[in-house]
C-alpha cells in the first residue's frame, strides 16, 4: 500500500528541484492529494501538467492509488 511519503519521494525524483506536498486524504493509503511546484510546468496547459504527474505512477492511478488529486503551479505563480 503506497504511503504519502513514498508518493512525495517519487514525484520529487521525477521533478528534480520541485516543491512537493502529498496528503493522504482519507488515511486509507489510497486517496491522495498532491501539490507540486515545479518549473517543468512552465508554458504547459493544466492538462499537460497533470498528465506529467499521472505519468509518474502509470497504471497505479486507478489501481492501488484509487484517487490522486493534483494541484500544480510554477515557482513564478499559478498557471
Amino acid at each position: 500500500m503506497p504511503s504519502s511519503d513514498e508518493l512525495r519521494q517519487r514525484i520529487e525524483v521525477a521533478f528534480p528541484g520541485s516543491l512537493v506536498t502529498v496528503e493522504d486524504t482519507t488515511g486509507g493509503g489510497d486517496h491522495f492529494r498532491a501539490e507540486i511546484v515545479s518549473d517543468r510546468f512552465d508554458g504547459l496547459s493544466r492538462i499537460q501538467q497533470h498528465k506529467l504527474v499521472y505519468d509518474v505512477f502509470g497504471p497505479e492511478v486507478g489501481g492501488a492509488i484509487h484517487a490522486l488529486s493534483i494541484k500544480t503551479s510554477t515557482p513564478g505563480g499559478t498557471t
Partner: protein, 133 residues
C-alpha cells in the same frame, strides 16, 4: 460488443456531444464524490451536457483512458477536447474559465460548488450498457 466497438462508441460520443462527461454513476445518482462534484459544476452553470456511466463494464474505462491518455474518472470533454477531471473542472468553475469555455453565465456565488444543484436536461447518449450483448 468488443473493445474496438466500445472505443468507437466512446469516440463517437466525444465527437457528437459538445459537452460530454464520462463519470461513475449518473448526474442524478453519482457513484463517486469526484464525479458528483464535476457534474455539480456543470449543473450550476445550467449547461446541457451528455453523461455516460463508465461503471457497467470495466472495458469502458480502459478504452476511454486509452483514447484520452487520462487515467482517472471523471473526464470532461468540450468540443471534442479533454478539459480534465474533477480537480481541473472545479478549479475552472471557481475562477470562471469553465463558464467562459461553455458560454455560460458565471453564478454569483460560484465560490462554493453547490452539490445539490439540480441537473438540467442531461439526456446522454444511448446507454452503453444496453449495447454490450
Amino acid at each position: 460488443m468488443n473493445n474496438t466497438e466500445i472505443r468507437e462508441f466512446i469516440e463517437g460520443a466525444i465527437e457528437e456531444n459538445p459537452v460530454m462527461l464520462f463519470m461513475k454513476g449518473s448526474p442524478e445518482q453519482p457513484a463517486c464524490g469526484f464525479s458528483a462534484r464535476t457534474a455539480a459544476c456543470l449543473n450550476a452553470l445550467g449547461v446541457r451536457y451528455a453523461a455516460l456511466d463508465i461503471l457497467p463494464d470495466q472495458r469502458i474505462r480502459e478504452e476511454l483512458s486509452a483514447v484520452s491518455g487520462w487515467p482517472t474518472i471523471p473526464q470532461l470533454f468540450v468540443k471534442g477536447e479533454l478539459v480534465g477531471g474533477c480537480d481541473i473542472v472545479t478549479e475552472m468553475y471557481e475562477n470562471g474559465e469553465l463558464a467562459e469555455l461553455l458560454g455560460a453565465e458565471q453564478p454569483e456565488e460560484a465560490g462554493e460548488v453547490a452539490m445539490q444543484s439540480e441537473a438540467p436536461v442531461t439526456k446522454g447518449p444511448v446507454p452503453l450498457e444496453n449495447r454490450l450483448d
